[in-house]
Symmetry: C2
Amino acid sequence: MFKVPDHQVAGHQAGNGVLGPLIDDSGHFYKPLQSGERGSKEVAFYKSFSSNTEIQDRIRKFFPIFHGTMLIEASDGSGLQPHLVLEDVVFRRLNPSIMDVKIGSRTWYPQASEDYILRCLKKDRETTSLPLGFRISGLQIFGSKESGVWRPDRKSIINFTAQNVRLVLRKFVSSNTSGDSSTEPDCSFASTVYSGSTGILAQLLELKAWVEDQTIFHFYSSSVLMVYERESIEKGMSSGATVKLIDFAHAVECDGVIDHNFLGGLCSLIKFISEILANLPSNTTKAFVKDLGNNCTC
Amino acid sequence: MFKVPDHQVAGHQAGNGVLGPLIDDSGHFYKPLQSGERGSKEVAFYKSFSSNTEIQDRIRKFFPIFHGTMLIEASDGSGLQPHLVLEDVVFRRLNPSIMDVKIGSRTWYPQASEDYILRCLKKDRETTSLPLGFRISGLQIFGSKESGVWRPDRKSIINFTAQNVRLVLRKFVSSNTSGDSSTEPDCSFASTVYSGSTGILAQLLELKAWVEDQTIFHFYSSSVLMVYERESIEKGMSSGATVKLIDFAHAVECDGVIDHNFLGGLCSLIKFISEILANLPSNTTKAFVKDLGNNCTC
């Protein structure tokens, strides 16, 4: 009934005696509660968020649906363990391209322990979190049935520079993507995936508008997950471009102040994507970006 | 010819053998070059900024005009010393109310020395910089000819909590302001000073739109200065509400990435001010805030 997810690009992966998330064939994602207070904090976040009546559906759609917690057989063979039961955000996606972007130049929160703060600060400084306001935590890009999926290893991802990030955000929406970095990405899916009223940029801008205004949740170390399906585009169907916010083990409630740390990083990611669109040859896309700019100046 | 400024609310103040800025009676502000590379970095910033042809006048107006550097007799009696010659941003303002708000949850930049980073981090954590994304560095509020100016001492300002900041931003635009914290601020100037097309909120939103887009300058430890004149309002004239950006000893050029740290803090300040306006009884002001919200969601 339970199986290891095919499309997990970051975090601990189940299998070979390792504890990790599982999925079923009805669209549920079972995430083991993390040790210590992380697990209980993530449950508390999902409970608080899903019961908050002020959050509108246009924002709620960015979060995995929460179905409670459940004791299930853990993937590491340790017996029954508590798991969060969430929406499987890539359910029924055949060959999705996925990018996990951890948002915020600071992944630690003021109330954390000194030891935790120092470890986070070190990692933020060693990665692009500090200079860019976000870092890529994982990705997979589907090429074709023949070439399969390109999934760089974690070590190379953690060492991404600003230049690598810029390149990978272009590769993500290119038809000639491969592990070979010498190929210039053609960005042929950029306008379909990133722009348009249902594209990733429009979704990120909707999320941004909410983050500028809401003063309840602060999301430390949470990720924006960007997903689309190349094969759908090639069949002339919708790209399935979707933005989801995931990982709330360090979400805190913070009455009365916006999440300026998350907002800054999100705006930085928006700017990176906007620049890719602004540099495309297509006039249609440029006009779209310009039009968004008149409202939101991103 | 040179004199000590009347309306300096933060930074080293000239006089009694202390090195500090001076003004003249033709609208110039002479700022001693700070020691080490701070001074040369601030000069470099002003040179780069003032020679940058891409910056439009609607943004340039937020920065003091730069008139070069000059050797003048220093205020501490140490003889001729190099000074930045800047626009005196409160020139000919009789009894201005002024607030200096240091923007950014992080006042240090990645390239700084370990020692400097640790000192800044400590101060950011001890003040509201970390939780709010900004901290008040200094203020003066003009009450009346009789009551004069209320200028809290530095020690109390540095200890401001989120609640103090919220209160002081309301006191700043109240007619019953005094050092006595038991009086509920009436916010009677809030709509004149903060809202409207020439008010402080509109100016901050214009600055924000630029910060979301520009990828040249990163402003660490810079301040937004907010100024207005109560007496002008009481005479039925313009409030003279003005926003200026000052202090660029730690401004760095950072090609291709937005200043997400400054942006987050600026949006947080905008939210604080928006909330003051949203809680006013006047319907006119509420409508204005709502209208802005439709474009910018602040």
